[in-house]
Amino acid sequence: MTHNLSSPISEEAIRELKVGDQVLISGTVFTGRDAVHKYLHDGGELPDGVNLDGGILYHCGPVVLRDENDEWKVTAAGPTTSIREEPYQGDIMKQFGIRGVIGKGGMADKTLAACQEHGAVYLHAIGGAAQVLAECITRVRDVHMLEEFGSPEAIWEFEVQDFPAVVTMDSHGESLHKDILAKSEDALAQRH
């Protein structure tokens, strides 16, 4: 089943989503990866203009160039591996009111528990699909902390249209990643 999602997202809308649902995301998305997570978790404040309440955070370090009119242009923007943010994600999600995290590879128990408690989902985008996903970014609204963190680690504010992802961790305690890990472990044990 395919759902359309756009921020700000209500808790009710998030609770309707189940593992395996495909979603198309439109509206505002903020990027944030390793440096941003550590910074926020260490007590750093969100820069002015960044509001994650009901919002979507994208684990992504894009390639962004200046075009001929000196406007930012995203030329590649797939997800990065999310598990590195596991120590921080659950707390940050709750503290800033994030409803959706886009990434790849899935996350673990702490984030899954936060999704259930707070009402949030993990949205798996296709890793490496930097061109298909960059085409869904219709505009770069702004960039924050570019100087401090460098381009791949900065907070980019994107406007997206029909950005495809799959719910792999929902707000009911279900995780496709846990499920596949357990099944593949059994399958492997039988083949030793």
Binding site: G20, Q22, A35, C60, G61, P62, V63, L65, T75, A76, A77, G78, T80, T81, I83, K104, G105, G106, H124, I126, G127, G128, A129, A130, Q131, V132, A134, E135, F149, G150, S151, P152, E153, P164, V166, T168, L176, H177, I180, L181, K183, S184, E185, A187, L188, R191, H192
Partner: protein, 292 residues
């Protein structure tokens, strides 16, 4: 800009934006095997669309343009100092042009100067041979797949893996299992049995220079490669770890002698966005042919 530098920029461009034919064919075969309507199938369809789009737009297949690994086979007498300097210039320029992301960070200060040039970047491996040919191969290996690589020391009690090919099989399959979808599967494994800790990983990556459809000339290793490929694809991990039949696209295994006390199995994982190309160069640096 020198002819050599221009050629290297073109090699970087091509590597970053075009998936080699052998890899794309393997992805298409995987797509045919996945069931209609599954998220595994839909993931591979997006991947296929992405490959076409990157080539058409001449933009990076994946935004993580990775570690920059050059493998240079050259005649005796090639000026390696100059070659390395030209390669650094080419990397800087390719970064400005957007073929490479600003991807190189000072490990202590966290500073990213945006050039992709610094200690250890780019990484060049020279090999002199008794021929006038210059062959330059380039692998761009992203961090997601690099992070799921593993090195085992045999025997491994936990996995009941002894110092033989069955032990190697067990730990290699364990690496596939631990990687799940985190390395952007369907993946390709490069493995080295033996060597020391450094040469083991180095040689495991060198296996990525082989074409996916080649067969190992050692019958025992060939059998192990085919066995691991078949078995991994029965584990149900699938593209991106979504479940499905396509967990790996290929397995390449090489060996190096070891000291009696050590028995390392080094496993490097390459994502589906397997960026590897190579060019033959004339002595003035001009590209005379492509290798993949």
């Amino acid at each position: 800009m020198s002819r050599l530098s221009e050629s290297l920029i073109e090699l970087i461009r091509r590597t970053s934006v075009e998936i080699p034919d052998d890899v794309q064919s393997a992805i298409l075969r995987g797509m045919e095997q996945e069931k209609e309507g599954t998220i595994a199938k839909s993931a591979l369809e997006i991947i296929e669309r992405n490959i076409d789009l990157a080539k058409r737009k001449s933009q990076p297949v994946c935004q993580d343009t990775g570690c920059i690994l050059f493998y240079v086979d050259c005649p005796v007498g090639l000026d390696q100092v100059e070659f390395e300097q030209e390669a650094r210039e080419a990397v800087k320029e390719a970064t400005q042009l957007g073929y490479l992301r600003q991807n190189s960070v000072d490990s202590i200060t966290g500073k990213n100067d945006g050039t992709n040039v610094g200690p250890g970047s780019p990484n060049l491996h020279f090999h002199q041979h008794a021929s006038d040919d210059i062959a330059v191969r380039l692998v761009l290996k992203g961090g997601g797949c690099e992070n799921v690589g593993l090195q085992f020391a045999l025997p491994n009690t936990q996995l009941s893996a002894g110092r033989d090919l069955d032990g190697c099989r067990k730990v290699i399959l364990e690496a596939v299992h631990q990687a799940q979808g985190k390395g952007c599967g369907p993946g390709i494994l490069g493995v080295c049995i033996g060597g020391d800790r450094a040469s083991g990983y180095e040689l495991s990556k060198r296996e990525f220079l082989r074409k996916l459809d080649d067969r190992n000339s050692d019958p025992k290793l060939d059998e192990l490669e085919q066995d691991i490929l078949r078995t991994a694809n029965e584990l149900g991990i699938g593209p991106m770890g979504f479940g499905g039949k396509t967990t790996l696209l290929g397995v390449k295994i090489g060996t190096a002698n070891r000291v009696p006390a050590s028995y390392f199995v080094s496993v490097s994982y390459m994502c589906w966005a397997f960026r590897r190309h190579g060019a033959m160069l004339a002595s003035d640096g001009e590209i005379t042919g492509w290798l993949y």
